[in-house]
Structures are given as C-alpha cells and as structure tokens.
Symmetry: C2
Subunit: 404 residues, 2 copies
C-alpha cells in the first residue's frame, strides 16, 4: 500500500504546465493567466473631476475668475487654463491643462462669464488623479491567477483587449463496463446507468479543463484500445477490469506503448487506482463506484489540472484556500468519529455555522457508496492515517465541496 501523498506525487509528476493561447477579453473570465498581465495605460488616464464644479489653479489669488470654457465627459477643454481663469467642469470631466484644484458648484456663484468662490478650500477627493487606481505597466493580474469577473473590469480599464491564458487541458473520459446503459436508454436486464462520467465532466469544466466524453466502452481489450485515438492531455477510465490488463490491451493496440500500474492506495473509500501511459499520455483508471470515483477525481484529477494550468498553490487560510484551490479548511466535529487504521479516511459531512464557527456533522460511514449522500454533502472530513478516536468539538481538516 502507498500513501495518498505518494500516489498524488507519482500522478502529478506526469504533468507539466500546458501551452498558452491568446484569448479575447470577453472570454477571459474563469481562465488562468499564463503570464503577468500589465496595464497598457494609467487608470484614470487623466485627472478627473468627481463632482460638478470649476477647475482652477490653486496658486491663483481669491479674485473672481473668468470662465473660459467647459469640460464634460468625452468633451475635454483642450486649451491651457491661465491665471485667474476657470473651466466649468462636470463630474467625470477631464481636469484641463494648467488646473490642479476643483471648487464645487455649492461654493461658487457665477454671473455671466465670471465666477466668485465662497471658499478657497480645495479638497483632494474632488479630483481623481491620473494613475490613482493603477499606473501603466503595473501588474493587473498575476500569472497563475484564475481571472474573476472583477478582474475583467480591471483588465478592460487597463486597455487589455487580449491576454495569454493557459489552454484548457483536454481530459478524455471513458466509462468501461458491460453492465452500463446510458440514461434515457432502455436499460437491459441487470444493467445500471453510467453516471460517473456526467459528474466528472462537470467537475473538470469547473476546474478549468475541457472534458471529452468517449461514452460507454465494453470491458474488453479491443474496446479499451479505442481510447488511443483520444487527443488529450489526460485519459480517464471509469471502472473496467480490462484496463489494468496491460498485455491484452497493448496487443489490441498493436503497440507496446501502453503501461498501467495498479496501486493500492491507503485511503477509504478507495479501490485500487490504476495509473500509466497510453502513447505518452497519462492515463488514470478510477474505481467503478461513482461516489468513490468522484472523491478520487478531487484527489488526483483536480491537482493534475492545477499543475497543467499553472494555478498558484499557495499555502493559505480558509477563504483563500477555497478560492485558490488549496482545497482544505478546518471545522469542528459535531459528533465523534472512530479511530482510523493505516488508511487516510474521507468522511462525507454537512457543514453548519454556530457561534461564528463552522461545524462538520459526519454522515454514517456505511453510506460511503451512496451517490445521494455525496450529492448532499457540503464537505469531506479528512482523517489522517492512524488518527485516534475523534470527539465532538475536535477540530478537523475538511475539503469543502462548494461549486461542484
């Protein structure tokens, strides 16, 4: 038996960051920046009035000013403002050359072409200075960051029309088993519905990959061999005894370029995990039990995608962890859990907050294979190998299942 960490280490070592592609601004949300994205100009590009008023020169005397023009958004005053001159400016208007202060309309009295001010006070927050938000060349989105909706607005403000993002890693998924029917089909006697692939595809999309569903394959070497056509960065098989029969599948492929290892990984719920290469493409064989397979996906496919996408893997605290995919947070147990053996144990749980703290209520261990329990769980409680009996109130590590 190997530990979960060792299995993860072996799987992840088969992946490297994927190539980048140039993508239009409107398609950047949710993508991973392949390089630091830098502003192509200051924001705001010029100093801007934040209220209606008069743009003036701070060094002028208190004498009445001559109104020489006006500035509104999109319609700047292009001349330079001279001594004892003022420009009527609207909120959002560009501060004209020569001006460095703004007097609000409330403090001004205009008569024809002349304006008097009731105050000499100049409050700096009436002008938003050029580059106040960010300067040209400053990093708006760091390499490895998943671009959010807010980042989209920031990038647009920085004049970014296109940016380099990681290509979505393609993941080919094949459901293997003579007992499988597709939902909506008439189910043959003794068949069950193929289901894991639908959940896995949706997870892979959420995690930034591009799933490609090969559908249902019969459990024999010839059918498994058809996956060799997959143009993908990762091939995943769900169930199927033939996948691990390297010799038979390689013969069906007419090649020796197929090698799989069967690992007994020290975790529950778990089954033997298959990992190998299909013509240079990493290939992962997950258990046939849907609930187990989807937990394996979280442990092995999600970090594989993170490696390919170059996602930041900071060691960080709760909300950041959730956000950056560091995958875990802590919670307190609502009820006790038995000691674990040599296997890392993932217990489905619901989460509630009381007194500002997060509590995890474990579901019964016997319910592991139930999809209905996995679907309603908020998190997986992670118990390390050899953990003593856990009591109610103990703090435990949990992997939130939010968003998938």
């Amino acid at each position: 038996m190997i530990s979960v960490e060792e299995a993860q280490r072996r799987v992840l070592s088969a992946f490297k960051p994927i190539d980048a592609e140039l993508e239009d601004l409107v398609h950047l949300a949710g993508r991973i920046a392949a390089e630091d994205i830098r502003a192509r100009g200051d924001n705001p590009p010029m100093s801007i009035a934040t209220v209606d008023g008069y743009a003036v020169r701070q060094s002028d005397s208190d004498a009445p000013r001559k109104i020489v023009g006006k500035a509104t958004p999109g319609h700047p005053y292009f001349d330079t403002v001279g001594v004892n001159e003022a420009v009527r400016i609207a909120i959002g208007g560009v501060m004209p050359n020569g001006t460095d202060a703004l007097v609000t309309v409330d403090n001004a009295e205009a008569a024809g072409e002349v304006v008097h001010f009731r105050t000499t006070a100049v409050q700096p927050d009436f002008v938003r200075h050029a580059g106040h938000d960010f300067k040209s060349g400053s990093v708006l989105v760091q390499a490895g960051k998943r671009i959010t909706a807010r980042d989209m607005a920031l990038l647009a403000a920085g004049g970014i029309a296109q940016a380099k993002v990681r290509r979505r890693p393609r993941v080919a998924i094949a459901s293997v088993g003579d007992e499988l029917s597709a939902p909506g089909e008439d189910r043959r006697d003794g068949d069950i519905y193929a289901c894991t692939g639908y959940g896995l595809s949706a997870m892979i999309q959420t995690w930034g990959g591009a799933p490609c569903d090969f559908g249902i394959l019969e459990d024999n070497a010839e059918e498994i061999a058809t996956i060799a056509d997959a143009d993908a960065e990762l091939v995943v098989t769900l169930g199927g005894n033939s996948v691990g029969n390297t010799e038979l599948v390689a013969r069906a492929l007419g090649t020796t370029d197929f090698a799989m290892e069967t690992w007994k990984v020290a975790y529950r719920p778990g089954r033997p995990l298959l990992f190998g290469q299909l013509g240079g493409t990493p290939m992962l064989g997950l258990p046939g039990n849907p609930a187990s397979a989807l937990v394996c996906a979280l442990l092995f496919i999600r970090p594989s995608l993170d490696v390919m996408l170059g996602t930041q893997q900071r060691s960080c605290s709760l909300p950041q962890r959730i956000k950056c995919g560091c995958q875990s947070m802590t919670a307190r147990l609502s009820s006790g859990l038995p000691a674990t053996d040599e296997r890392r144990t993932y217990v489905r749980a619901s989460l509630v907050t009381e007194g500002g703290e997060v509590w995890a209520e474990p579901y019964p261990v016997l319910d592991y294979p139930m999809l209905s329990v996995l679907a309603k769980a908020d998190a997986l409680i992670v118990l390390p190998p050899g953990a003593p009996e856990a009591k109610a109130g103990d703090r435990v590590e949990v992997i939130p299942l939010d968003g998938y």
Copy 2:
C-alpha cells in the same frame, strides 16, 4: 433617501420566476431545477455483489452447494437459484433470483461443480441492495436548487436524460458615455476605457443569467432609445446622464412607455440609482464608476436573477449561505472602523483565517473608487446605518466575493 432594503424591495417586486425549458442532462450543471427532479428507477436497480464470491440462499443447510452458473457485471445469471445451489458472482454482478446472501471467495473452497464454505456468517455489506442509494420516484434534486457536478452523477444514476430548468434570464447591458472607448481601440484624447460591462457580463453568467452586451452608447436620448430593441428580462445601463431624462428619451422612442425614477439610496459607496420600465421590461441605471456599479450589481442584479431563477433563499449558516446565494457570512474585524452615518456602508476587505476563525481586514475607505482594490478584495464588510465605531475583534457581517 431610501434604505437599501427598500430599494431592493422595489426592484425585486418588478421580477417574477422565469419560464422553464427542457434541457439535456449534459447541459444541466449550474442550471436551476424548475421542479423537483425524481428518480426514474431504484439505485442500484437490483441487488449487487460488492465483493467476489458466491451468491447463496441464507436458509440453506451447511451442506456443500452445487455451482449452477456465474454472474458478472453486465452478464447476469437469469435462472432462479434453488436449494443448496450457488452462483459464482463477481464484484458488481447482479444477485440472482432466489439468493439473499454472499460468501466471499476467501471463505470458499471450490472443487469442480461443488463449493464448500468455511463460514456461515453472512455480512450484509457484501450486498448492496436494490434501492439502497435511492428509490424510484424519490426526489434527487429539489426545485430551486442549482445543479452541481455531483447532482449530475446522481441524476444520471436515476435515469434522467432531460430535466426542466429555468431559462437563463437575458440581461441587456449598455455602457453610456461620450467619454468611453473600447479596450484595444485607440483612445481619443480625454477618453477612458469602458470596463464595467465586461465585469458585469461575467458576473451575470456566474449568477445564472445570459448577458447581452449592447456596447458603448453616446450619452443622448436617441442613442439610449436604441436599447428599446433589447429582447431581455432586464436592461442595465452603466453611467449616462441622459438615461434619467425620461421626457427626452420617451420622445426619442416615440412612445410614452419609458419611465425612470432616480433614487438616493442610503448606502456608500453609492450614487443615485435609476430604476424604471422600458416597454414593460425592468430597467436599472447603475453609476458610471466601475467599482460602485459592480457593488450595486451584487446588491440589485444578483437578487433579481435569484427571483427570476426561483433560487432557494433560505436563511442559513455560513457555508450554506455561500452556497445557496444568501450572500453573507460573519467575520471578525482585524482593525477598527469608524461609526457610520444614516447610510449602510460596504467596506472592501481581505479575509484571513487564524485560530479557526475568519478575520476581515478592511481596505482604506478612500480607496472605494479603485477597481484594483475591488479586484483584490475577498469580501465586502457590511456596516448597518447608524452603527457605532467598530473595534478590532468585533464580529461583522461580510459578503464573500468568491467566484466573481
């Protein structure tokens, strides 16, 4: 001035649940169930062996059994098993008619067509009984739930090939202002880049809507009037002084079917909010400042989409709140904040966890208009109107900005 709650109440009263549409299973992830989705069969549909062994009758004597056949996944034994008979069964195989117990291979010794057992103990977890996960007709996904990846697997296991989900509400977005250029265009002197629309479109997609970007409109009645062509459930304008000039726009439209109200809402950062009707379609005018507009989107557009989508609005605790869109959780302040006036105040903050608790560190209040600060914030701290000075360590309400 009206309160945020009153403004929300008025806006939300203009929306009702949108119509449903039938969607294929592969497209259900992220959609909102329009009705309870019920299983079309038991899961598992038959009792299934969870280990390799022999399917037998519990009532039989301890005598050796005659091996009458075998059952593997997809290849059931179709006859009925009689007295003192056994069927060799593989993991995942269907338990044959007449059998109700399983003896593992480890406890069996086969010789030709006969098998002896070293035990009479029958452990129930060697058989996963029909309907153990869920029964035909049971609710797999409740109406109003956002369908997750795990739900997808659950629905497939229940034989669901299509389901009724809420149509994505269409939101037309128009950026109004003579000073706006699109990113990537040569920026005219005095222009700024239109940016809010890109962020808002991405948010609306995340929240389950279908954005439709009308691009940049000049700030005059004729241009505003072109939005009348929008085939949408909600029209949003960003910036623009003309939008509120009901008489002028209605004249440009050649109709009186345009009415907008300007509200001073008691919140900061905030500007007057416009709300009205354009030929029976609700229309919302957000401030031109991008950071303010995106906060307004969170307060007014997100709940509007929730109403149209019929999303559950349970009053619930932290992780559920995040998940079900109840929009808030609590955190402790890392540093103090001044007392608020009559306005509800939204303060951008970063979140960190220490000692299992979430702490919110506010950004300086003067940085409100900065998109760069909004983009790096993890949450908005919500301070109610008339709140006293808040001290470090105080517990405050926060709206997490995860996922957008």
